[in-house]
Structures are given as C-alpha cells and as structure tokens.
Amino acid sequence: MVNAIYIIVAALGAAFLLGLLKSEKRGTAYVITLFALSVMTWISAGWVWAFVMERAAPVDFLTGGTSPPFSINFRMGLPEAVLTLLASLTGLLSALYMKDVLCALGQRAMAVLLVAVMALTGIILTRDLFNLFVFFELAIISTAGLMLLSEDARALAAGFKYLIVSQMLSVFFLIGIIFAYHATGTLNIDGMATASLGLKAGGAIAFFFLFIAVVAELKPFPANGWGLDIYESAHPGFAAIFSAATSSAVIYAVDKLLLIGGAEWLPMATGIGVITFLAANLFALPQTNDRRLLGYSSIAQTGLILAVLGQRDILGDNVLYIAGGLLLSHAIAKAGLNWISGLVAGRELPDWAALRSRPILVFAFVTFIAMLSGLPPFPGFYAKWEMVRILAGEGRIALIGLILLGLLIEAGYLFRWFGYIIKREVPAQSVRCSPFQISAIFVALASGWALGFVWGELSNQYFGHDNLLLAIPVVFALTFLLLDWLPAWVKNSIAIVGLSLFFYLTFSDYDPLRMIFAIIFLIGGAVILLASYDSKGRRIGFYPATMLMFAGLILLIRATDTFGFFAAWELLTIGSYFLILRGKHSEPHALSYIIFSLGGAFLILAGFALAAQGAPLFNIDALAQLTQPLAPWVFLLLAIGFMTKTAAIGLHIWLPGAHSEAETDVSPMVSGILLKAGLFGLIVLLMTMGKQQLYGVELTYVMLWIGALSALLGNLMAIFQEDAKRLLAYSSIGQMGYALFGLALMNHLGWLMALMFVINHYIYKSMLFLSAGGVAKRTGTRDMYRMGGLITLMPLSFIATLIGIIAVSGVPPLSGFGGRWIFYNAIISSEYRLPMVIIFLAGPIAFLYLFRLIHTIFLGQLKDEYRKIKEAPFWFILPQMIYVALLLAFAVAPGVALRRVDTYLNQIFPGGGLQWTGTEISSAYGYWNPVAIMIIIAVIFGTLFAWLLFVNRKAQKVKQFNIVYAAERPYRPETTHFAWNFFAPYRKALGFLVQPFATRFWDGVTNTLHTAADISRRLYNGNGQSYAFHLLSFVVIAYLMRMGA
C-alpha cells in the first residue's frame, strides 16, 4: 500500500507545481490538479480496498522519523481510508464539476482547492492535536479562499463572517491545546487519551476548549449562521466539498477528540448534536432558498451524526456502522444535491421543476433525498434501524423521540421539495450542464446505490437481516428503472406477469390468513394493472413506483422478523408515495401522505425497537412473549403506526386527498390494496400481542372506539362530498373503521368479519374507483353535480357502480351482506356495548353517500356537453367486469375464501367460529344461506320484472325533459339536476359532527412549527458580529451546562 502521507504530498506537490506554471497554462494546470486529486483518490481507494478486502490492520505513519509523542503520526485505518477517499473523491468530482470556473480563475484557485482537500485529508489522518489545529486553519483559509470562486457577490461577506468565527475558534483551540499539553505533556491524541486528560487539574477545561472549538466547526445551534451563509452563497461545487467532505472530516476530528475526553463528554456531544439536528431541521421548514435549505439540512445531518457519536458508549462497535452509514449517506446525498443545485438556474425551490426535463436528474434527486431521510435501501435506513434498536435497548427513549421527530421534519421539507420538482411549472430557464457535471452527479448516484448494497450486506453479515437490494421483489421493481424506455403496455405486461408469477411460485408459503392478503396484493394488483393498459406512451416513473409498492406489500406478508417487516413497510410507503404524487393536483396530498406515513413508520420503528430490547434479530412472533410494563407501550406505538395507514379517525386527513387526486388506476391500488397493509399490520399485532392494558385501560377497547368513530365520521364526511373520488376516499375511512372494529373485538367472528371486509373492500372499492375514474376521465371533472344522466352513455360503468353500491351497503344478496351478518354475530358475543351504538349509526349513513354517488353521476339530467361522451375505455371496464363477476361469485360462495380462514382462526380464537353445512352458514346465534338468498331474490325479482315488462310493454320512451314540472318545463339540465349539496338537511342536523377538527389540529401543528421556525430563524440576522456573539454565547452556555452537569 502506498504510504498515506503521499496523499498529502500529492496535493502539496501539485499545489506548488501549479505556482510554477505560467498563468496562461491553465489547461495544464487543470490537468495537474485533476491528476493530483486522482492520485489522492487512488491511494485512499487502495487503502479502502486493503481494509475491506484484505482485512488489513490499521497502520501508523510516522513523519519525523521518531515515534510519537516526539513526532507527528498519521493513522490509516478503515474509517480514515473511507473518509479520505470520500474527501478526495468529492474534491476530484467537484474539480471536474467546476472546470469552467477553475479554468477561469486560474491555477491559484486550483491550488487553493488542492490545499483544501489536502487539509481535509490531513484532519482525518493526523493523530496530533496541534497538527490537527494546523490542518484546521488550512482548511479555514482555503475555504475562505474558495468562497471567492462563487459568482455570488454575497459570498465575500459570507467568507468574512466565516473568518471572524474561525478566528475566535482558533483562539479557543489554541488555549485548549496549550492547557491540554500542559496537563499531559503530549500533543498526541492517543497519548492524551491514555493520560486521561479529563482527570488532570484543569484538564477538563482544557478539553472543553478543544472540544468546543472543533464542535463549533460543525456549526452547532445557535452558532451556525455563518455556515448557512457559506452554503447559500458558495459555488455549488465547493458547497459540495464543504458539506460532504469538510463536515465528514470535522466529525471525524470530533470523534478523535472524544477519545481524549472519554465517556463523560459523550452526553454533551449528544445534546449539542440533537439540539442542532432539531433546530436546523425546524428552521429549514420555512426556507425557500434551495442552497440555504441544503445548508440547514447539512447542519442537521452533522448534528445527528454528532449525537450518534455521543451515544458511542452504548453503540459500541456499531458506531462505525451507524455513524458511518449516516455520514456517507449524508455526504453523498449532499454532494449530489449541491451539484444539482448548480444546474438549476433559479434559487427558489419550485425552480427545481426544471429538473423534469432530465428524468435521470429527478431520479438522482429522489435517491439523494431518500438517502437523507433514511429510507430503504440506503445506508441511512440500516443505520436508523440499528441506532433506534440499540438506543431503545438501553432505554434512551427521549433521544429516539427527538431524533425521529427531527427526521420527520427533515423528510417533510425534502419531500415537499420533491413535490415542487414533480408538480410545479417548469421554469423558462432549463437545466444547463456539461458532461463533467452530469458525471459527477452520476458517480454520487451510483455510489449511493452501491453503498446501499454494501450496508445491506453488512447488515446481513452482522445482524442477520436480509439485504434489501437482493430481495427478488425489490430487484424486480428496480429493474423497471432500467426498462423505463419501453412503451407502457410492454412494462404493464411484464408487471402483471411478474406479480402473477410470483404468486404462482410462492403461494404454498402462506397460511390461509396471509393467503388472503397475498391474493389481494399480487393477483388483485395484477387485475388493477389491467386498467393501466389504457395509458399510452411510456409513462415514465410509474412502473418502478408501482412495483416498489407491490414489492413492499409482498415483503410485508413474507417478513418473519421485525426488520424485514419494517423495511417492507417503508418500501411500500415510498412506492405508494411516488404513485400518489403522479396525480395532477396531488402535490399537497402526497406530501401529507408521506409525512403521516413516515410518522407512522417511525412509531412502528420505535415500537419494534422497544420490543426487541436491543436484540439484533427479533422475530415478529416473539412479540407475543413481551410482558408488562413494556408490552402495552409497544402495542400502543405499533397500533398507532398501523392505524396511520388505515387512516383511523384523527390520522385520516391525508387519505381523502391522496386517494382522490391519484391517477385513475392508482386510486384503486392505493385504496383497494394499500390500505390492507395497515390492516395486515394490525392483524399481526393483535395476533401476537392480543389484549393489552395500559394504566388499566384496555387498548383494544380504545381501538374499538377508534374503529367505530372512524366508521361513523368517515361515512358522515363522505355524504357531504361533491367530488366522486373524494367521496369514495372518505368511504374508505369508514370501511377501514369497520375492519378495525372487527379486529378490535378480538373474537373469532370479529376477525372473520374484518377479513371479509378486507376482501370485499378490495373488490368493490377498486371497482368503484375505476368506475368513478373512468367517468371522470370521460367528463373531465370529478364533481358529481356536474355530471348526471350518464346511465345510457356509460351503461357498463353504471352496472359496476350499481353492483358496487349494493355490495358496499350490505344489502342482500350481494357479498356486503355477508360482512354485515358476520359483524352482527361478532358483536353479539362481545361485551362492549357503547362503541356498537356508534357503529350502528354509521351503517345507514352509508346509504346516503352511496345513493348520492350513483344518482348524481348516472341518474338525473344529462348535461349538454356530455351528450356525446363514450363509455369508459375498455381497459377500465374490463377489470370492473371482473370485479362484478367476483362480487357475485363471492356473494354466492363466500366459503371459498372464508372457510379456510375460519378454520385457521381457530388457532387464535378457539371456538366461536361458523358452521358450514352445505350452502348454509350458521353461527351460535343465527344462520344464512347465500345461495338460497340469491335464488329467492332472483326469482322474485325476475317474476315481477317479467310481469311489469308485460303490462308496460307499450311504454313510450321519453327524454330527459319530459317530466312533470308543476305545469312548467325545465329550462336547462344544469338547473334541473338536483345534486349539489344533496344532503343539505343532514348538514343542518348533523353538520357539526364533520367540522374538520382533525384537519384544523394538524394544520395548527404545522402552522405552529412553521411560525416558530420563521420567527426563530431571524436569529440569523446576517451580521457577522451577531454570529460571533452567538458563538460566544454558545461557548458560555455549553460551559455552564457542562459545569452544571
């Protein structure tokens, strides 16, 4: 291996060489710069290879010919190698990226760049305190120098502010060094660590100064205004270095210092880190400038890593895996994002919509924000999981809460930004970029995915989790990224075949309960995908997202341990988010969806972590073995998490928008299929943990109430909707409420009913969404009152809707009745009376919105402009007809699906099941015979119909205005169609129940956050002196807290 000193030497040598060149030889100078950076990269890469592949031991390099403390030594270990590689590679790529500006400014700029990278590698490598100081100062000086690269005139001021702060910091640093030296007699970091500096007289204060000086370089709150100014005004190429490399180097320096300070300084690191993480993320919320936003995010991320370092007492060896995962994710993502920011002309966040002209950049962006948000399959995800797991194991719950809160806020603004990119108008100035710039971004992108793979492998190796990037469904989904150039129908066929094939290959793996979900997810998904044949063109981005969602869904039911379950959960969340975001006006709704989902996911994460008690691999079934006092809390967290997905009342506000604004074939997927994921989670939870009590309150009883209220309020809200798909969406809330209620009953029949609802809801809600979507596609509106009288023009859609509403309402003979029948039998055996009353009220209300749905769309008066519209496209109708057939079949023979589940449920709830004798189904209380019902009703209906046809055979067919109109005649169909505010009396009587309390509450929360952030961030008033004052206050406060502690 090459001596690590050559990394420094290469940079210094090249920098000197540049000084010798004539100023016109810029091309040569640039080549030399690149060469030097490549050499540095190559050396570091060599070391990484050595450590990873050959398992080499860390090596010390001595400089002065003697060993420390008499000389400075560099150490090259795995972390150093990775970090130097990171620093030099970022330097190299940024140099490529900044070719134009570097060549314009000449070799001096290049030399400064080389010095900057060299200083960073020095910070990483050195084991000498004073040497560290020197490299720090070099980094500061070169940073200030590189600020001059920026075209932004304000960069000057930012550089000056930075210098002010760093002047103060170097004073602290030097004080710290000299006192530390005085106390220990050495400048070697390891020497100081062995000398236990903190125990010596004045040692603590000496270390305090050292620590604070280095930590302050990480831009802790509130002493970080200067950092933001740099991010905002620096050249994006340099901002990438500053964010990715500088932060990483400084973090590593902090890590080294903590070696000296020992365990007692760890809480301080954690405290500063977490506060910074939260504050920076919070302040980022109202931010509109992209680079400043990136700055906030960088600061937040480094804060998070600092906090993780502060937990090394419990994280132990895992700290490398966790902090490393977070750090590398952060570095790659931030470098990439900063580079992209250089390609975008405007500085407002919505200006990034320009990226849409290059899908690869959008993909890069989304990769980067996923990495930052800690989503699978990137290292941050694994790191997040292990971190929370270990913290929970040690009972550091508050810290978990703060970190997850910060992550949620961060995901909030990042995904909001992504929403802008996908949905906002493309600005006039398009993306301008050179191949060099693209390749830099591309390298970041590739390394992001590669690291995802590496971390997956590591996770497999150390913790026994599966590598997500090796899971077949995920691979299948990601393949669509490569296939995106194919026409949509080809991809659609592949997707359908893939889903069906996967089911065919694995169907023997599932128990009857999972079988129902597997069929709905895989076969059900394939049926809905039939509707996607209607889309023309290539439909970029649709299939990867869809398949990712399905991958998550299928992995969810196949998961055996909590990690797999959680990973699948997040996968399906992201996949569905992308899907929902595709809708025309879905930007805000997709955002609230992802925020609620991630919030829920974090609760699940916390719940699982709490349950595992630090065990790396925790089987889901083992949830059953949890005991008081832990169990109810785990239950609570998981239940709330899952109920976020089923949109239980209070957590439901994301659903209506998300489901209604989604594309026509997406709505049935997210409603008919995705909601079941939440139910599946609840089933798993209740199956393993059963009834839990918290402070004497039975949690399933609370769920019962939530289910009942969801059913009632969901239905109530549905009846006041004017938008067909919104109506269906609210109806889903109600339906999920029923299912939740059934599950929470915790008896055999309750579960059977919930599963019946799972099946039914999939069929009829998919059908209704497709039907409503088809109508909306033809009419160009989803407002029901604008439609009317479409029955003759769209008869098949009408039939689907008719069958659908009969089934939803539970009227015999269709399958909805089976659900209601089991429901009544289930509650009769339950002792909970009050919530029953609520759910009773919900029942008839369903009729109201269902009738409204079919009446205002298909009946009543046809409008002028729709006189010539055609039936919905064939590919929309086909799945609907399949669903009609399914509904009828399921109505006649519910046993096909339910009988096996019924038997299976005996394992969980022995007894109390149904008897299946012939076609009759009976319980302990009642009986029904679906076949007989169907035949009887058909015979009665048929006879009467034939009779009426006979007696009215000569009826004159009239047209829509041939109605008695109090001796007048209708004027226009618009004024004759009674549809708008259809249930006005109901609103008068019960409208107070559907005041948007939940919406107001969540609006209040977000508004409070925004306002608080907007007011607080004015702390950063832009004045360098204020920043200096912040720094001093930070030092003083930190000191007081340290001493107080």
Binding site: D864, R867, Q956, V958, Q960, A967
Partner: protein, 213 residues
C-alpha cells in the same frame, strides 16, 4: 322562441364541438296515438268500472273555480267516499278539472299538464267561463271555448257552481266512464292537428314540443 330552446353549440370535454337542439334532444317528439280499449270486453268493462270508481283529480286550480274544489275534501262534502282523490302530479291523475276561466297564459300550462296525464284521461269544464267565456266573453286574455283546446268530457255550468254541483258532475262523469264514452284522450290524439292549431292560435309564445309526454 326562448333562448334556452334555441339550437346551441357546446364543446364536449374532449374539445369537440357539436350542436344541441333542445326541442329534439331533450324532448320526446312522438305524437300521441289512439289507444285501443282492452281486447276483451269484460276486461274493458272492469277497467271502466275501476276508472269510474277511482277518479284521481289533478290538483291544479286554473281559475277562481278552484276555490270550489277545496270544500270537497272537507267533512261537509267529503268526495273521497265516492272514490275521488286528488293527486299532485299529472302522471297519476285521470281527471283534469278546468276550474273556471282559463287565461292564455294558464292554457299553456293546462295543455302541458293534460298531455302529461295518461290515457284514458278526462276533462271537466267547471263554470260558465269554460263553456263560452262567461263574464269574460270579451276578455283579451282568456280563452272562450275550452273545447277548442282540450277535449272536454263534461261541463258543470254555473258561476260559480257549488260543490254539490261538482259532486253531481263527478257522478255524471262516472256514468260516462262506465259507459265507455269518456274517450277524450283518443279524441285528442285523433284530432291532434286541429287542437294544436287552435292552441297555437292563441298561445303566441309557444315554447314547447307539440306534445308534452
């Protein structure tokens, strides 16, 4: 013609423009036809008996005579005991009582309501005004002979006839129906052209299809 009945050009959601002709597209254009009696006489007799014993009057008061109909619902006269009831919608009514003078404005509504009733249907002219205009014989805006516009089965003369007279009229009407002589609807269909010509002569702002189904 009223604006809303003129041919208009509308644009469909797919951007294609086309014409909408309200009178054709929104109204049934078929002409009324003569409806034969039931093929079997016994059946027709039964029906005629039922029709006579179940007279549903359209609740539409056209003139001052309307005031004489209300007492029929009261305990004093109680027409219900004779099988006479009032229906608010012409679809379900069999008998249209033109109660007194009929202004041309109301005539249009009366025609519409009459045409919306189902065959067989009956018209009773109540009061002198329906016979010859009565005291409004020279009015500029009432019609004089109801029979010119709608096929009248029975007149109840007087100005105004009292409710007792109405009851007597209903009894006579029943006899007509039972005898199968109340075929006004078929008469109307047979002489449709003539009735329409008469109607259009007095109704100048004709803004409806020729036959209101």
């Amino acid at each position: 013609m009223k604006d809303e009945l003129k041919i208009r050009v509308v644009k469909g959601p797919d951007g294609v423009e086309f014409e909408v002709e309200p009178l054709k597209d929104y109204y049934c254009e078929a002409a009324p036809t003569v409806m034969p009696a039931a093929y079997i006489k016994v059946v027709e007799d039964l029906f005629n008996w039922a029709r006579s014993e179940s007279i549903w009057i359209l609740g539409f008061g056209t003139g001052c005579g309307a005031i004489e109909m209300r007492p029929l619902m009261t305990p004093r006269f109680d027409a219900y005991r004779f099988g006479v009831q009032w229906r608010p919608t012409p679809r379900q009514a069999n008998l249209f009582v033109i109660s007194g003078y009929l202004s041309t404005k109301t005539l249009k509504r009366a025609i519409r309501s009459y045409e919306q009733m189902q065959n067989p249907k009956y018209v009773i002219g109540l009061g002198s005004c329906t016979i010859n205009g009565g005291m409004y014989w020279d009015s500029y805006n009432t019609i004089k002979r109801l029979d010119d516009y709608l096929p009248v089965d029975l007149y109840i003369a007087g100005c105004m006839p009292r409710p007792e007279a109405l009851l007597a009229g209903f009894q006579d009407m029943k006899k007509l129906i039972r005898a199968g002589k109340a075929e006004g609807a078929n008469l109307y269909a047979e002489n449709f052209e003539w009735y329409k010509a008469n109607q259009k002569r007095v109704i100048h702002d004709w803004d409806m299809p020729d036959y209101n189904w």
